[in-house]
């Protein structure tokens, strides 16, 4: 088939020497991304801390006092 002829005979091989540069860049990039945590990554845990403290109080039998954030 013409389509297969084009695919078989028209393909050019990529230069092998560039492969090293590209793969090294990719490896370097992924290492940097893995090591670089942002503050927002940690802040996402903040709401759960309050819930955990509340559960701790409830389980230990302590009085739980919730003060409203906004006074009416």
């Amino acid at each position: 088939m013409f389509k297969e002829q084009i695919l078989r005979r028209g393909l050019q091989k990529a230069p092998e020497d560039l492969e090293v540069n590209i793969l090294l860049y990719a490896a370097d990039k992924i290492e940097k991304d893995e090591s670089g945590h942002e503050l927002s990554d940690y802040l996402s845990w903040l709401p759960f801390v309050g819930i955990l403290l509340l559960l701790k109080d409830l389980m230990s039998g302590q009085k739980v006092r919730i003060s409203p954030a906004v006074k009416i």
Binding site: F2, I6, L18, A26, I30
Partner: protein, 179 residues
């Protein structure tokens, strides 16, 4: 098991370098062929720059079609480099018989490569479609989304590109016989 491109890039984002290497191996020759035919002298530089920009992009966003994104980067870089691509208007009803299933005999590999280079120079928009469909294994719909035009127009450009190649190869055969 064959991973999809999306799965490979997702694995790479999670730190799996082997996944990126598979993605690179899967698309390197197709991308290089595209660049070689579009702009032979700058092909190496643009090939490398395309992948570096692609790697940068994977860190910033989720890519729904990594292969299309890779070729989009390459096309933008080619356009910035040459700015020679002419806008060819083509009617959606442009009708050329389907010659995809035909075969052209006694054509050497060199002649095939030359015909592709000529198509890329003479009719760059048609070449893009042919390349993305045959070498990039993209559907007309995917190419249409990438180019921002209807899939019918893409299909017409594809058929035109095939006809161009067939005519080119047959005329070169004629020259050989006459010579």
């Amino acid at each position: 098991m064959d991973w999809t491109d999306v799965e490979l890039i997702s694995a790479y984002r999670s730190g799996n370098m082997d996944a990126f290497q598979i993605f690179y191996g899967r698309h390197k020759n197709s991308l290089y062929t595209f660049l070689h035919n579009k702009c032979r002298e700058e092909a190496r530089d643009i090939f490398q720059e395309t992948f570096l920009k692609f790697i940068d992009a994977t860190a910033k966003k989720n890519l729904t079609n990594p292969k299309a994104y890779l070729f989009q980067i390459a096309m933008n870089l080619v356009r910035n480099t040459s700015r020679k691509a002419k806008i060819i208007s083509l009617n959606d009803e442009f009708d050329i018989p389907d010659i995809e299933n035909e075969e052209i005999e006694s054509v050497s590999e060199e002649e095939f490569k030359e015909s592709l280079s000529n198509l890329a120079k003479d009719k760059p928009l048609f070449y893009d479609v042919l390349h993305l469909h045959i070498f990039g294994k993209m559907t007309f719909e995917e190419i249409g989304k990438l180019k921002g035009i209807s899939k019918d127009t893409i299909a017409s450009r594809y058929r035109y590109a095939l006809k161009y190649l067939k005519d080119f190869l047959q005329s070169s055969q004629l020259h050989v016989k006459e010579g």
